[in-house]
């Protein structure tokens, strides 16, 4: 019997991996390829990434380079570098996503053939992007159609798992183990509910965000991310003012999520994670700050880069959570334990 050796396609565990990986994985596997993912982000990947990328760029993109180099050690035949231009009507992705394959080609010359995928929902349907990618691998239209349909199905399954309350990692485990029809049990919480919002590649990469989720869980906080929210809230375009519409794709999603969360009466606080140097994020940070202030919702934004000290991040998070807990407990705590106003002779 002849054993067919599958060609390997490498996917960096970086950027839109944290959004579309189940889709990509199913698509390439259905086309008969073996999908290889780079290692989890670590100091070495950050260091190597920093060497390739220009200094002024955001840390997620620096990490992308690091992950590409990491993949080269894994003996791959192709490397997948998608070009996401627009994923919802009326918006654009950040320019770095628009030019990603060109950026990579321009700075690295030891790569295996790059497989591209242009996603531009302003101009062409998703299926057209699938054909473009499948054709580069010399697959027939029938094969591509079948792979595409399965990939979309997997992606919806993955998204629904998270809407039902799974974390990114839990949903990913189910996809990677090919478990079908998984029904997550609804979990009961009766503590502090904090939403952590931002780009998937900052939120779900514990290396970039310094294990923020572990810290929050150790403080017994219920964490909500953008992906846990109902899908229909992302379908309407957000309006900033009567004349101003949002232009950025990823930020559109963040703003929709924040608008929805700000109407949730059970929400105790919001943490916004963004990377240093991210232009679009710096704009919406300001918008969210203003709304949070108006609505009196505790809000903090954490700006991260490769030089961020862990101590500063942890102190901020601890103080933020303690602030919320004390506020909530303020009404409940027994009188004698409450800190009372001192007699006048102690007032300085």
């Amino acid at each position: 019997m002849v054993v067919e050796i599958k060609k390997k396609i490498g996917i960096p565990r970086s950027l839109l991996y944290y959004k579309y990986f189940p889709l990509w994985k199913t698509f390439f596997e259905e086309l008969g390829l073996e999908v290889v993912v780079s290692d989890k982000s670590n100091s070495k990947i950050v260091e190597i990434g920093g060497r390739y990328a220009i200094d002024e760029i955001c840390i997620p993109l620096k990490l992308y380079y690091g992950h590409l180099v990491n993949l080269l050690e894994k003996d791959i035949d192709y490397i997948f570098v998608p070009r996401y231009i627009s994923t919802t009507f009326g918006t654009y992705m950040c320019p770095k996503f628009l030019g990603l394959p060109d950026l990579i080609r321009g700075t690295m010359d030891n790569l295996p053939p790059i497989i591209e995928m242009d996603v531009d929902l302003r101009k062409k349907p998703k299926y057209a992007s699938a054909i473009q990618t499948g054709r580069q691998l010399h697959r027939s239209l029938r094969q591509i159609r079948k792979a595409y349909e399965k990939a979309i199905k997997t992606y919806h399954y993955f998204r629904n798992l998270m809407v039902k309350g799974l974390t990114f990692q839990q949903a990913m485990n189910i996809i990677n183990k090919n478990i079908e029809n998984f029904e997550p049990k609804p979990r009961k919480h009766n503590g502090v509910k904090i939403a952590v919002i931002g780009h998937g590649y900052n939120i779900h990469d514990p290396f970039i965000n310094m294990n923020l989720f572990k810290k929050l869980r150790s403080m017994k906080v219920q964490v909500v991310t953008l992906e846990n929210l109902p899908l229909e809230i992302f379908k309407k375009q957000t309006i900033i003012t009567n004349t101003l519409k949002n232009y950025w794709g990823n930020e559109e999603e963040i703003l929709s999520a924040v608008n929805y969360l700000f109407q949730d009466k059970t929400l105790d606080g919001l943490i916004f994670i963004c990377s240093f140097c991210c232009g679009p994020d710096s704009l919406i940070d300001e918008l969210i700050t203003r709304d949070a202030k108006k609505l009196n919702i505790p809000y903090i934004s954490l700006v991260l880069d490769e030089h961020s000290g862990q101590a500063g991040v942890i102190t901020r998070i601890e103080a933020f959570v303690d602030m919320i807990i004390r506020k909530k407990r303020g009404q409940k705590i027994t009188k004698e334990v409450l800190i009372q106003t001192p007699p006048s002779q102690f007032q300085g």
Binding site: P298, T315, E336
Partner: protein, 332 residues
């Protein structure tokens, strides 16, 4: 060491709570009783290791207050070395400086709305309403608005930092110094010296530069409502206080306990915690000063992260704290 407050040991009755604030530059101790009265408070510059500074503080307490040791019902720690200190002394809770400062300030200055806290290596602003923290901020990527900035400049000018306030008061001319960055502040300061400005005017300019930097960086977009109080080591500097008053247009309250507010807050939080949870304290006692603690470290080679794992061993070989690993397999 500065003795901020002390009462005669024979007068001290009832349960006591100890708060320890170990920051980057100084170590503070405070003891309160069940009625929240301050019994004892000290401030000292940390010399070398935080372990030594904490032990030294205990030695002083052992000498002057040995009889009250058994009355201590709860211990709280705060400051950047709060976890290490908690492990060393067997504290009951470790809380951030933000919470500790807010709790103590809202006790001593009822109705306080804004706390400006400037310490050795970081600066914070805390906003409160009805004794509850509503917002806070810390300096992020720049140390230009902190005590170390002033320490640096004082060193360059050859003036002891303690004299800063006094000298700034003698200034007659307004000199604007670029305070965005310590490096550029030095360039600007040298330029102003070469232009013939007096030391006093430059010092006042520096104080104003720090305040501008703090307000622009840390307090960005926040509404600072009076009453405003100023805490942390830099509050000792009257030049900075006057610069704040000039910039904010209102009185800045510096409470007599400003140096040890964090430690007092930690003691109050320990009291609250022990009473609320109804627990017995883990406190090792004043003998912490005689115990042997050996800090050690190694590089974990198990993955490319190569984390620096540090740990503290007690004299008998027991490991009382271990951290520094990203994955959590070493953490204790």
């Amino acid at each position: 060491m500065v003795l901020v407050e002390t009462k005669v040991p024979s007068d001290i009755e009832g349960d006591l709570y100890l708060g320890i604030d170990v920051g980057s530059v100084s170590t503070k101790f405070a003891i309160i009783n069940d009625n929240m009265e301050l019994i004892y408070a000290t401030w000292a510059r940390s010399q070398g290791s935080p372990i030594k500074s904490v032990q030294k503080g205990f030695e002083e307490m052992k000498n002057s207050l040995d009889s009250i040791e058994s009355q201590i019902r709860g211990v709280g720690t705060t400051g950047s070395a709060r976890y290490l200190t908690k492990a060393l002394v067997g504290a009951d809770i470790a809380k951030t400086e933000i919470i500790a400062h807010a709790v103590a300030a809202s006790y001593y200055i009822p109705g306080v709305r804004t706390i400006l806290e400037i310490g050795g290596q970081d600066s914070k602003v805390i906003l409160l309403k009805d004794g509850i923290i509503t917002d806070f901020a810390m300096n992020t990527i720049c140390a230009a608005g902190t005590g170390s900035f002033l320490d640096h400049q004082a060193h360059r000018l050859g003036v002891p930092i303690e004299k800063f306030g006094e000298l700034a008061a003698k200034s007659t001319v307004d000199v604007v110094i670029a305070g965005r960055c310590t490096v550029f502040a030095e360039s600007d300061m040298i330029h102003k010296q070469q232009m013939g400005h007096s030391k006093e005017d430059i010092i006042k300019g520096l104080c104003e530069a720090l305040v501008r930097n703090y307000l622009n960086n840390v307090c960005k977009g926040k509404k600072l409502e009076p009453p405003i109080t100023f805490q942390g080591g830099v509050a000792a500097n009257s030049g900075i206080r006057r610069a704040f008053e000039k910039e904010l247009g209102c009185e800045i309250i510096v409470h007599k306990y400003f140096l040890t507010m964090g430690a007092i807050g930690a003691a109050m939080l320990a009291r609250e915690h022990v009473l609320h949870e109804d627990i017995k304290t883990n406190f090792r006692g004043f003998r912490v000063s005689d115990m042997k603690f050996i800090p050690k470290a190694f590089n974990c080679k198990d993955c490319p992260n190569q984390c620096e794992v540090t740990y503290v061993e007690k004299g008998d070989g027991e490991i009382i704290a271990r951290w520094g690993d990203r994955c959590g397999k070493w953490s204790l």
